[in-house]
């Protein structure tokens, strides 16, 4: 009997124990320059056409290149060629854009190419990338950006709808406005001027050039097989765990910038001027969703840079927003920089209670104490948002603080509420605020707003929901009030203002479902204007129209606080740049000495 039990146990045990054990070896050579970075969320895909999140964009930008990029050191942001040979040439009417591309650039080696050798990058690869975004069978979420812009591209999309399967789509079908007369020239013909053409089509990795051979070879698995021309290639991708890139042996080498902003030279940012990039042999991103382990890894020196988590703020920063002595002893550097973002409580302008009651919307605006909000939730580091355009953009209106309804004034709120109740014809019914998360932050955020509105006499119910539910309700225009916000993807306020254009109602980007004919007219006018003081004035005028109509209570603009270990060289905050690892360099000696330094400081 006992023997039988032992046999049973011994039979089952090894099966399970060894089932889980898979040897793993990816040890780094100590002389290898490895960048250790982290991501707060896992990478969803490595196919540019399907990218929906900035984490995937960041990683993809290390493997795929675009025609242009933003200058790493110069501010305000300047476009510089990457795959392109020189700046784009526009016709006098702004409708034709010609780009020449560099010769001799090669794709990485991959089995999708004959003999596994990467072929030369051609202009047709760029056209293929744009066609993929337009192809409805690709299921790209990024079509809206290029819709109704390039001559003949919308017709190509219509054609793809008639194809039964993705394989039936003929990619060699000609498109009037997307021409490649030779292997090194791209001509784009627009329906009307598009000032953001370069930013949206030639800098954004989601429209990056692709090798058709790779898409044909890997089919649906192309999401995990990036084949690009960039400085790095994929070595390992353990989803939900880590992603590892190594140098692309076919990469032509790119010189480090030789010019920068005042102060860059003194900061050592031009020490490597003209040297060939990338400097690092390997980039490893570990996916860490919890704050504690990522902070501890940073403190152990196993991650090169990290934003300060809320709960570790006091360990890193003093009351005067300076580094604590411990951080200074550990030679950790602090970078604080503004983010092109705006966060708000949005009002659904189709809601019967809110839409016809401007005093109610104004009352909610005045009822929120933004200073306390930022103090409580963001360690007093964020900027108060008074309007749509974030302060980091050139078209920010410095006078915006004196406009709109963002000042905290509960008495004024109460007066406005009396007026609102007259319009409503009685007491305001309970309002529903939707939060896009169920975690502690959103619960505290919801409670804060609820309490603030209750003070002026409003009855509020906060609904906490997961992101998909929130998004579904947003797309179906079912929220009444919602906590939202986001960042601009390009250094142009048009991106932020598009959220108020009536043709982009949900499921488009205008989740307020806001409409003002004058705003729409100005939006359409600025859409075809190149950057100029006149356009900036119009942007600011549009912002004031939005503020006056009050489709949201603007709350804050993010300010990022990033800590960087001293061994990480050439680090400069870049809010619009992706794929920045090529610029980074590690002082290996300093990194090796860090554990000793940490011991000393601990003692």
């Amino acid at each position: 009997m006992r023997k039988r039990c032992v046999i049973l146990f011994m039979t089952i045990l090894p099966v399970f124990v060894f089932a889980g054990c898979k040897g793993k070896s990816s040890a780094h050579d100590s002389n290898e320059m490895v960048l250790h970075q982290m991501l707060n969320s896992k990478i969803k895909c490595l196919d540019p056409v399907l990218i929906q999140d900035e984490y995937s964009m960041n990683v993809c930008n290390h493997m795929f290149e675009t025609l242009y990029q933003y200058h790493y050191l110069k501010r305000p942001y300047q476009l510089v060629p990457l795959l392109a040979d020189g700046m784009p040439e526009f016709s006098g009417d702004g409708l034709t854009c010609t780009v020449r591309i560099k010769k001799g650039i090669r794709f990485q080696d991959d089995k999708c190419f004959p003999n596994g050798k990467g072929r030369e990058f051609k202009s047709s690869d760029f056209a293929y990338g744009v066609r993929r975004t337009a192809d409805v069978k690709s299921l790209s979420p990024n079509w809206a950006v290029i819709e109704n812009k390039i001559a003949g591209l919308d017709e190509f999309r219509e054609y793809t709808k008639t194809c039964k399967t993705a394989a039936d789509v003929n990619y060699s079908r000609s498109i009037e406005g997307l021409l490649t007369p030779d292997d090194y020239t791209i001509i784009i013909k627009l329906k009307r001027p598009w000032p953001q053409l370069v930013d949206n089509l030639m800098v954004d990795v989601r429209n990056a050039p692709m090798a058709k051979e790779a898409v044909d070879y890997y089919g649906k698995d192309i999401i995990a097989h990036p084949v690009g021309t960039g400085p790095f290639i994929l070595k390992n991708w353990e989803r939900a765990s880590y992603i590892e890139l190594v140098r692309n042996p076919n990469f032509r080498g790119e010189p480090y910038p030789t010019e920068g902003d005042p102060g860059d030279k003194e900061a050592g940012l031009l020490d490597d001027a003209g040297k060939t990039m990338p400097f690092a042999d390997k980039v490893v991103w570990t996916i860490i969703e919890e704050d504690q382990p990522s902070w501890l890894l940073f403190m152990q020196g196993k991650i090169d840079a990290r934003a300060i988590p809320k709960d570790s703020w006091n360990e890193a920063m003093t009351a005067t927003n300076d580094l604590t002595p411990k951080m200074k002893q550990l030679e950790i550097r602090l970078y604080a920089f503004k983010d092109p973002s705006t966060f708000y409580l949005g009002f659904n302008m189709l809601d019967p209670v809110l839409s016809k009651n401007k005093p109610l919307r104004q009352a909610i605006n005045h009822a929120i104490d933004r200073e306390t909000f930022i103090k409580l939730f963001f360690n007093n580091t964020y900027d108060i948002a008074y309007g749509v355009i974030p302060p980091v953009l050139a078209s920010y209106n410095p006078d915006i603080k004196n406009r709109g309804y963002s000042d905290y004034d509960p008495n004024k709120s109460k007066e406005l509420l009396v007026e609102a109740e007259k319009i409503q014809g009685g007491k305001i019914p309970p309002l529903k605020i939707a939060m896009q998360g169920t975690d502690t932050f959103y619960r505290q955020y919801g409670s804060f707003v609820q309490r603030q509105l209750e003070v002026i006499g409003l009855n509020v119910e906060v609904e906490y929901m997961d992101w998909p539910t929130f998004q579904e309700k947003e797309n179906k225009r079912q929220h009444q009030i919602f906590a939202g916000g986001g960042g601009a993807g390009i250094p142009d306020a048009q991106d932020s203002l598009s959220e108020y254009y009536s043709k982009y109602w949900s499921p488009g980007v205008n989740h307020f479902n806001y409409k003002n004919p004058e705003f729409d007219r100005l939006y359409e006018q600025t859409e075809v204007m190149m950057d100029s003081p006149e356009r900036t004035k119009l942007y600011q005028k549009m912002e004031l129209i939005v503020l006056e109509d009050c489709p949201a209570a603007f709350l804050d603009h993010r300010v990022r606080y990033v800590l960087v270990h001293d061994w990480n060289k050439n680090y400069k905050p870049d809010i619009f740049g992706y794929g920045l690892s090529k610029y980074y360099k590690v002082d290996l000696k300093k990194r090796a000495e860090y554990p000793e330094l940490l011991n000393k400081v601990k003692d």
């Binding site: 009997m1 006992r2 409805v136 069978k137 649906k220 989803r239 765990s241 919890e290 504690q292």
Partner: protein
């Protein structure tokens, strides 16, 4: 026994069909259309339409040969779970996650069972004495402290401060290195409940007449405990142990998330959070099958350990 096993295996058919029907109703009928989740933010209506066609959401729910229900059954029975929302085949995700999850949950499971049964046997024998009282207090304390506190404490003190273990997963580490601390935490957090349960089981046996008889006959403590008490306590232990095995495949969410172990626990919760029905559906189906199989194994084990039970 063979006839019994065949009969029980036949019983699994309606159970599995029931699970499939239930998951279909929950995820497709109640849960609604997930095209928006697949399409992402700001997708155009035609992209949504295309997704509906590609995933078959435009087909009738029931009562057609090409209905979503028929496809759901067909896919499940052929273990073809399709692609997750991030376009990766679901089966690849599960295959990849099972190894790391088992490398974490199996040592926790066996460690917890062996340690808790041993402690329970000893303190049951010492019932009413100071060691027994102390153990019960510790068990209750262990059960009362939140799981997360053990993780935060272990990670901070044992890994960061004392540097006895790595803080987090790293590709450079071997499996035993990166699972050591989470396994230790998993065992310690589970001991409170397990020891209390097994202690109760042992106490029931200790009070039985045959134990008194054994001692009266002059048998030593070791023989009574390990030869008689433990053997007779095997039925409830087996029930507890074997039925827990299917859950090992589901991993441990918190441990996986805090220590960066890319297992199926993490996968499942992430799928729930992003409403990835393809993954949830596959995991539910596989769990149901495993549960049925291990239920059957439990019954067979009863017959193996207790001669009074015959399966025929």
């Amino acid at each position: 026994m063979g006839a019994y096993i065949i009969r029980r295996l036949l019983y699994t058919i309606p159970i599995v069909f029931g699970v499939l029907l239930l998951t279909f109703i929950l995820f497709t009928v109640v849960g609604g259309d997930i095209s928006f989740e697949i399409a992402g933010k700001n997708a155009s209506p035609e992209t949504i339409k295309e997704i509906r066609e590609e995933y078959g959401f435009n087909k009738p729910l029931f009562l057609a040969w090409d209905s979503q229900l028929v496809r759901h059954f067909k896919d499940a029975l052929t273990f073809d779970f399709g692609r997750a929302l991030d376009r990766e085949p679901v089966i690849d995700k599960i295959k990849r996650g099972v190894g790391p999850s088992l490398s974490l949950t199996i040592p926790i499971f066996f460690g917890e069972v062996i340690i808790s049964v041993s402690i329970a046997l000893v303190i049951a024998f010492l019932r009413g004495r100071i060691w027994d009282i102390l153990a019960v207090i510790l068990c209750i304390a262990g059960m009362s402290i939140p799981y997360l506190s053990f993780i935060l404490f272990g990670q901070y003190f044992l890994a960061y401060k004392l540097r006895l273990f790595p803080v987090f997963f790293s590709p450079d580490l071997s499996v035993p290195q990166y699972v050591a601390l989470p396994v230790l935490i998993g065992i310690v957090t589970g001991l409170g409940g397990s020891v209390r349960f097994y202690r109760t089981v042992m106490l029931d046996e200790m009070r039985a007449d045959y134990v008194r008889t054994a001692f009266a006959k002059g048998l030593d403590v070791k023989s009574v405990l390990f030869k008689h008490v433990l053997k007779n306590a095997m039925i409830p232990i087996l029930t507890q142990v074997v039925l827990a095995i299917p859950f090992l495949f589901l991993g441990s969410l918190l441990l996986e998330r805090f220590f960066g172990i890319p297992g199926v626990g993490y996968l499942m919760v992430e799928a729930i959070g992003s409403r990835d029905y393809f993954v949830i559906n596959a995991m539910t189906y596989i769990s149901a099958i495993l549960f049925v199989i291990f239920n059957l194994i439990t019954d067979v084990c009863y017959a193996l350990v207790d001669p009074r039970i015959t399966l025929d």
